[in-house]
């Protein structure tokens, strides 16, 4: 049935309403997002150009904060820490979760039990996890050192959070602990999307288990691999809760990372301008990571088609 013709006046009204209405629908959400996310993102650019302690009159100093960042030893150390933290957590999370996902993917009894248990830390707060692990890492009474001494490996006992060479690595353990079940679930979803015929064909051709993994599993997992790597990379460069709760960046700045550095420069040392400038350094790093992800994903999509 053809639509009834409307009188001209009604058409004009109809059009105008149709053209304005969608904006009213999205307005509330865009307003909240715009004010609390986009405004700080933009207004901070100006604050990064100030010398300002948050109380006295701010002074405009141009790009001086950024110049200082380039020569600031603590900041460079923090950047180094953050890169190290990212490499360890990403490699640790990906390797462990992929390994577990492949095992869980072999039709097993108790799959729901394993999945539910391994995913559990995702619903726990990093504050709870951080305080709990602070105790597990305790030199004298902590479970970790107790365990090593109990099984006769006392020489492995460490001052996990107090030794500048180890503390950062100890924090990565906690981060990996919280997230490996999460990444495993995502890998598992990817594995279940691989058609079984591929493996059967490969077996007929005499491919070994390793060859099947290398030439079927890994390529087919590329999309979820990109997602997992990006999520964990983003997480690593945004990490704040773990180092703040567990070590406050110490000892001797050895566990200080960008987000924490930004917070401490702002609210412990009251260098608001410098802290704002640091935020944009972090923003640049995260944007680069996101851009690489986008590029990889579009490339993967194109080769698929």
């Amino acid at each position: 049935m053809a639509p009834l013709p409307l009188p001209p006046k009604r058409i004009a009204q109809h059009r105008r309403r149709a053209s304005l209405a969608p904006y009213l629908w999205i307005l509330p959400a865009i307003l909240v997002y715009g004010i609390f996310k986009l405004v700080p993102l933009i207004s901070g650019i100006y604050m990064a150009l100030l010398r300002w302690d948050g109380i006295a009159e701010p002074r405009f100093i141009g790009l001086r904060n950024f110049e200082k960042i380039l020569n600031d030893k603590p900041t460079l150390m923090v950047l180094g820490n953050n890169v190290e933290y990212a490499v360890i957590t990403v490699v640790g999370k990906i390797a462990l979760s992929l390994f577990l996902a492949i095992m869980l993917n072999q039709a097993l009894r108790g799959r729901t039990f394993y999945r539910t248990s391994l995913f559990m830390p995702v619903v726990m707060s990093f504050v709870v996890i951080g305080i709990l692990w602070r105790w597990l890492f305790n030199t004298e009474f902590g479970l970790l050192n107790n365990l090593f001494e109990g099984v006769g490996l006392g020489f492995l006992a460490q001052d996990w959070l107090g030794d500048t060479n180890i503390a950062l690595k100890s924090l990565t353990v906690v981060d990996i602990w919280k997230w490996y079940g999460f990444h495993m679930v995502i890998f598992l979803a990817g594995l279940q999307g691989i058609p079984n015929e591929l493996y059967e064909a490969a077996k007929i051709d005499g491919a070994s288990v390793w060859q099947q993994f290398r030439h079927i599993t890994l390529p087919m997992l590329q999309p979820v691999m990109i997602v997992n790597v990006t999520l964990s990379l983003m997480g690593a460069f945004n990490v704040f809760d773990i180092p703040y709760v567990m070590t406050e960046g110490g000892p001797a700045n050895s566990t200080n990372v960008m987000a924490l550095h930004i917070y401490l420069r702002g609210f412990k040392f009251y260098r608001f301008g410098f802290s704002a400038a640091l935020s944009y350094v972090l923003l640049t790093i995260v944007t680069l990571v996101a851009a690489v992800q986008l590029w990889l994903m579009t490339r993967a999509d194109n080769t698929e088609q």
Binding site: W25, F36, P40, L41, V122, V127, W133, V227, D241, L283
Partner: protein, 291 residues
């Protein structure tokens, strides 16, 4: 002699093929069990420790407490004002969920069903900025200027703004899958566009609402940075800040009290999670897995 060893060889090979699946299974289960224990044991240990007397806590590190000592819970409850903190966390989390579900569903519907100028650009801006870490200083200054520090509303708006983009995308994807005929039929029956959305579309959108609600609730419940930045008064303090009170007190830290507080802060969520694990896992990974 030759034949014997060949026969033996064949026998062991046959047995090898016969046993191999079981060995693989055994290996799989052992490994999975080990990594499951690594997750579960610390949490179980935390709950056990929360019932131990401070003497037993040091002397009986691994085991089950000989008597259930509830005093830890009494002390922790009083000292950290956990009752208040629980209520605060509930207000903040439920408020954030309500705000995000309402705003994101309406916006997601518009992006899914209406064609309008700039919609693609707006979505692109959302995608590009949602992952960007918000600069802390201007964020804090904004809250001070708007007089939104130390307030539920401020925390709710702050947390909601972070989870809006992903929630909009989840709703948009869901609404795209709903046939247009449904909405057309409702409009023919005299519904306005909005009442068609409210009366016809939303009632069948339970899965999307559940996904967004779980994702937002868990995030808000566990949020630490925003309260740390914006909350000074103990009246507003959520659980994530309250459990740290023990370390700012004068004198020795009673770790058994700390574990009692940590248990109160995390066990209810874990119980709900275990009961609804399918929904939780689906919701919490929905940003990462398509469909």
């Amino acid at each position: 002699m030759m034949q014997d060893s060949e026969a033996l060889d064949l026998k062991s090979r046959i047995e090898g093929i016969y046993w191999r699946p079981y060995l693989v299974k055994l290996f799989n289960h052992t490994t999975l069990m080990l990594f499951t224990l690594i997750i579960i044991y610390p949490v179980v240990w935390m709950v056990l420790a929360s019932f131990k007397t401070s003497g037993e806590f040091v002397n009986n590190v691994w085991g089950v407490p000989s008597v259930l000592d509830i005093d830890n819970y009494h002390r922790a409850w009083e000292l950290a004002n956990l009752g208040r903190a629980l209520i605060n966390s509930l207000i903040i989390s439920l408020g954030t969920v309500a705000l995000v579900v309402v705003l994101a569903s309406i916006a997601g519907y518009a992006f899914a069903k209406f064609r309008f100028r700039f919609s693609a650009i707006i979505l692109l801006v959302l995608i590009f900025t949602m992952q960007a870490p918000t600069p802390v200083i201007p964020f804090y200054v904004l809250f001070v200027r708007l007089d939104l520090t130390d307030s539920y509303i401020g925390l709710i708006l702050g947390i909601a703004s972070g989870s809006l983009p992903l929630s909009i995308f989840i709703f948009q994807a869901f609404f795209r899958s709903i046939p247009n005929e449904l909405r057309e039929a409702a409009k023919i029956d005299g519904c306005s566009e909005f009442s068609a959305f409210m009366r016809v579309v939303m009632p069948i959108s339970g899965p999307a609402v559940a996904t967004v609600a779980i994702l937002t609730f868990v995030g808000a419940w566990n949020e630490y940075f925003l309260p740390l930045l914006l909350v000074r008064s103990p009246e507003i303090r959520p659980l994530t800040l309250a459990v740290q009170v023990f370390f700012f007190q004068y004198g020795r830290v009673e770790w058994t009290d700390v574990f009692a507080a940590l248990s109160i802060a995390s066990i209810p969520m874990i119980v709900v999670y275990v009961l609804m694990q399918r929904w939780f896992i689906q919701g919490l990974t929905s940003g990462s897995i398509k469909g």
